[in-house]
Amino acid sequence: MGKIKQSIKRKIFQIAAFGFSNAHLMNFKGGRIYKGKWKDFCSPGLNCYSCPAASFSCPIGALQAVNGSMEFNFSFYVTGLLLAFGVIFGRGICGWFCPFGLFQELLHKIPVPKFKLWKGFLYLKYIILVVFVFILPIAVTNFMGMGKPAFCQFICPAGTLEGGIPLLSTHSELRQTIGSLFSLKMFILIVTIACCIFIYRFFCKALCPLGAIYGIMNKVSIYHLEIDKDKCVDCGKCQNICKMEVNPVDKPNSAECIRCGECVHACPKNALYLGFNLSSKKTAQTQKTAPVQNKGKI
């Protein structure tokens, strides 16, 4: 029952975050994009700012835009925002707020055989972050000193899905410029969708540079997971239920943990805690359960 409640609670958050990040649905009709002041800010999750419905800027797109601009070589503004989001929520952003994360989870509900990702792929997102978000936009510039947003241009399937397809379907003049680059991006989108059907959150695990940043922040994030080793009986239920293939007992703050909370509700001994300010909660719970345990002994 608890598990159902947790998954429903998370879905409601995800849907609300999806709606909040994409509030301008009517823009799909004319293929326009929102041009208001909220675009000064970045959404915490991956959400293409060329999507007609997008309310905010994409943090990874914005990072590349400033890194590759004529005036600046590094974005303190976007980095500051990402560090702030990361130190509060860590990869809780991926699990609770990311619109593309919700899309992947829905794809994974398609009933086909499921597979695990080869562990080596987990490191790919860090390479993508360094090479495509930082090195290429800063180092490969044109005669005006402008770099290109390499991740958006060559990889991002969210941009193709949320921006490319809706805008091309409403702008005939844009359709005339379709070339090999768009074919490459469509190919990446189709492969990503196919992989997400078979592997839970394939894009988050293997390709997402935003997930890489928040994953690093998981080590210190205020919203975090804790284990009470005294209560843990090593039954392995938490590890078995984890779709991100994390062992919460060994690594409660693993870079892959998206803080979905499934392990917390699977634990028969209530040995796992997920939330803010856990030390006080843990103490309170221990005090609460102690008399009950004593009663049982009597």
């Binding site: 400033v66 974005s75 844009l174 994030s221 030390s279």
Partner: protein, 48 residues
């Protein structure tokens, strides 16, 4: 002890995050972000 170190790290990251964001705002990065976000980004949609 480990919790204390983590709390120190959290505060430090938060201070750095705030300082970075403020510095970025004062030197005009928001305008770059805004101009990119309110125009169709051809590279982002696979046309650039």
């Amino acid at each position: 002890m480990e919790n204390k170190m983590k709390n120190i790290a959290r505060v430090a990251v938060f201070v750095v995050a705030g300082a970075f964001a403020l510095y970025g705002i004062t030197r005009g990065e928001v305008a770059v972000v805004f101009s990119k976000a309110v125009n169709i980004c051809l590279e982002c949609i696979g046309l650039g």
